[in-house]
Symmetry: D2
Subunit: 273 residues, 4 copies
């Protein structure tokens, strides 16, 4: 199966890059399933229902979130009626929405997607490792699902790598989000799980995390309130991870980082081109 | 000028990879100056004088440090007699050692190297932006130095990108360290400064931050004391940043991420091969 | 019922003050139940079985812990055979020991004691509010227990006050520990729960958190490794909370901070003297 | 000299308590100098010029601030024309306002007041210990000033105690603010400096940090956005520290915590009544 994961969409630059590029890629690469982190799609803070629909309409099967899940209040409502939108599974019980969903591809394959949030240097949620143990326990790879994709939204590389090792051989992909910078460590782990510490972002990289750099730099230098942080408006780049799995085992057989657009070195999965 | 920066060396695997590969690269790529972050070279925690000498002997001109600078107590002493070893410049006044040094290359060019530590999610030091403002104020690129290389040892991508924008056009390279994972964002910024959020590490990537993954995972899952963290012992990979600067301006004209060794996709500067 | 809670015992000074003063107080005040936080009793870091026995022998019915629970490795073992020693209830499932215990007083009353840890500015454990909801759900005050005492081991006053409001009317006492400084806010909340943000410590207050101040100050000023932190050795003071509950409801009817020893203003419960 | 320090004023309840009680206390206790922390006076977030004037008009000689200094943007402007309003001295150079001021009492005595912010669990500012070293170096007690009062706005008791030891014998008072809970450790340190870890707040204590408890508790239990935090509106209590200094040395000779109002046990300096 052919899976594509794209990192945090930031503002209009990110959305435009996704809607412009994804339909073509979906066809050209014959993708079976596409997952996109959308937590910064609405002006850098959360996402609206209209934007969620845009991302799904552009070719995403599932949209994941993170610490910005509910920055737009309407997400507390529409997430309940959108089964393809996930917030981290380790939010407290009773939180609107869900953290795991099953996608059926056009060929009838079942892809389980989970979104989980780390705790190091982040607001404390429930144990992400215990949460994922339950997820894969209830729906083991090969039995309950033909592929399992895990978006681990976390700050620290140590915690993301730990999740990779923890789930190695039990899921198809462990990919990090949240830092908005793609890491150059896409690989298949010994157990067969594709891993990348961070998928990066879909947005304008001539920025700080996709936001205009002037005010963001000023906040590090001065400690006074200033202007609102606004998304940078240059042409967006999309980054993420391309993975081909073995249809029989659900484990990864090919992996490549993806980067298309200005500012970063281009990267395309040679095995699909 | 041809500059190579390598990320945090972790344990024996990292040291072996550096001492095995660097001499050949220095010659093959005709490098003018090599900087290596060595804060984890001694069993993952700090470095000893013997290890510092090994790294310098293998072809490093300068060794930089970070939050682990003084994990080995002897570093408090020998750093005073080793002008090519840097600890972050924004340690409090009176801290042993220095945070900035000038290297003269074999061709007589002057390379200023600075090491500075971020504060987000880290133990608080003095303002890294104010510190770097002073450094480049006292020794401007093109006047005081033919190239300036800044190792910004920090956790958060936002703070490292902010330092990149803050110094863009005023230094040759801003490269991050500390996360032990190379980022895929090596680029030349609009002002001419080469930038990469993190150089990654020199060490065994089948690990967590270069340390054996079993105990590191266990610490996330259980909250009880366990075994010591020990470096992973598989073959090391070296990662970092290759930059060619304009001899006249000191600004970057070519940039490439570098990754040589198992586990990660190989990456060599095409412009030097 | 007459209940006494004493804050974190630190080192020999703290232990000596407890063993010297508690037997007399237990008798003079006709105490029904005494709970002591012992997480720093062994040289400032954790506690040993011998020290735990000393505290119980001096008149404690229950010893609670916190983030230092397992600093002494032997605690991982002996906590399993000591039902009167508690570690925070929101440690991950599978952690040795327990977070809740039931004490039967000499008059046959049942006192439920729970230890729970906050998450703000602390290593992330499971949700302390959800954990306490379960505890009081399974053993409601007045039905399952004649009194309920909760030691909330936390850094932030906001989180401790939130626990107080969350449990107000459902437990007899919510008392904080961990900051090693007694707060002057002992009171009965509107629902009938006795509350104090922090019980303070049993130890030498001419110190920093009970440890010798010279090295502790140096660590704030210099950022280099130094000597071990050792407990201060002056005469210890004991501080905590005295509460009288209504035997029928289990709610608090009288409350007073307690402070006996040098350095701090003396405070004794007038209603028992 | 007779000095009174009052903790963080929170909202209308806090302001009303101060304006109602302070004029009478100033007269009854024959106070020479009054300092109030006002960082939460405007609806819990910062202060306006009108509110600052109200506090000064009620009898404060100096108003100090903290991490909420500039929550009300107008403070960036009016702080420049109000020499009796202080923000932490270790804000970056160039920050509007000042961190130190000299007050001349009606009897002609000079009181130096400084405001400094800690760094543990707080946004990183410059080194508070180095900053205070400069302050007392430039204006030593007994030479440059007849009394020196230091408001150390910090989260961790360790950092506040460290500042107490660091300045012991060199200033008249080191008093903490920020946690909004008064501590019961008012005392004179061996060197003669009056010390209290936290002055508490002036506000409605039937609250969480002076804000309405319902929403504040909800934020700990649920992790979704909710209502604005609003100040609690019950009758306010004022808390702080009363200190009498030796006119010759400037060191403390008498010290007492102060608490007047509902919810907390009343505390008045017996030596002035
Ligand atoms: Fe994001
Ligand atoms: Fe995020
Ligand atoms: Fe490192
Ligand atoms: Fe580091
Ligand atoms: Fe403690
Ligand atoms: Fe503790
Ligand atoms: Fe405050
Ligand atoms: Fe504050």
């Amino acid at each position: 199966m052919r899976l594509l994961f794209l990192g945090d969409v930031v503002g209009r630059s990110g959305r435009s890059a996704v809607t412009r590029l994804l339909p073509g890629l979906r066809q050209a690469w014959a993708l079976d399933c596409v997952i996109i982190n959308g937590e910064n799609a609405a002006g850098g803070f959360g996402l609206t229902e209209a934007i969620c629909d845009d991302l799904l309409g552009a070719g995403a099967d599932v949209v994941t979130l993170g610490n910005h899940s509910f920055d737009q209040r309407e997400a507390l409502v529409f997430i309940e009626r959108q089964p393809r939108l996930l917030r981290p599974v380790n939010f407290p019980p009773g939180t609107p929405g869900r953290g795991v969903t099953m996608v059926e591809t056009t060929t009838g394959a079942r892809v389980l997607v989970a979104n989980v949030m780390g705790r190091l240097y982040m607001d404390a949620l429930d144990d992400p490792f215990a949460a994922m143990e339950r997820v894969v326990g209830e729906c083991p790879l090969g039995l309950g699902a033909d592929a399992i994709v895990v978006d681990v939204h976390a700050e620290a590389t140590s915690e993301k790598q730990a999740m990779g090792h923890f789930l190695d051989g039990r899921v198809s992909i462990v990919v990090g989000t949240h830092t908005h910078v793609p890491t150059a460590d896409a690989r298949i782990m010994p157990g067969g799980t594709a891993y990348q510490s961070d998928a990066g972002m879909c947005g304008d990289y001539q920025s700080i995390l996709g936001m205009q750099h002037e005010e963001a730099v000023r906040r590090f230098v001065e400690k006074t309130p200033g202007a609102r942080l606004e998304p940078a408006t240059g042409e967006g780049t999309i980054t993420g991870l391309a993975v081909e799995t073995d249809d029989r085992t659900g484990l990864a057989v090919k992996v490549s980082a993806v980067s298309i657009g200005p500012n970063l070195a281009e990267n395309r999965p040679a095995f699909w081109e």
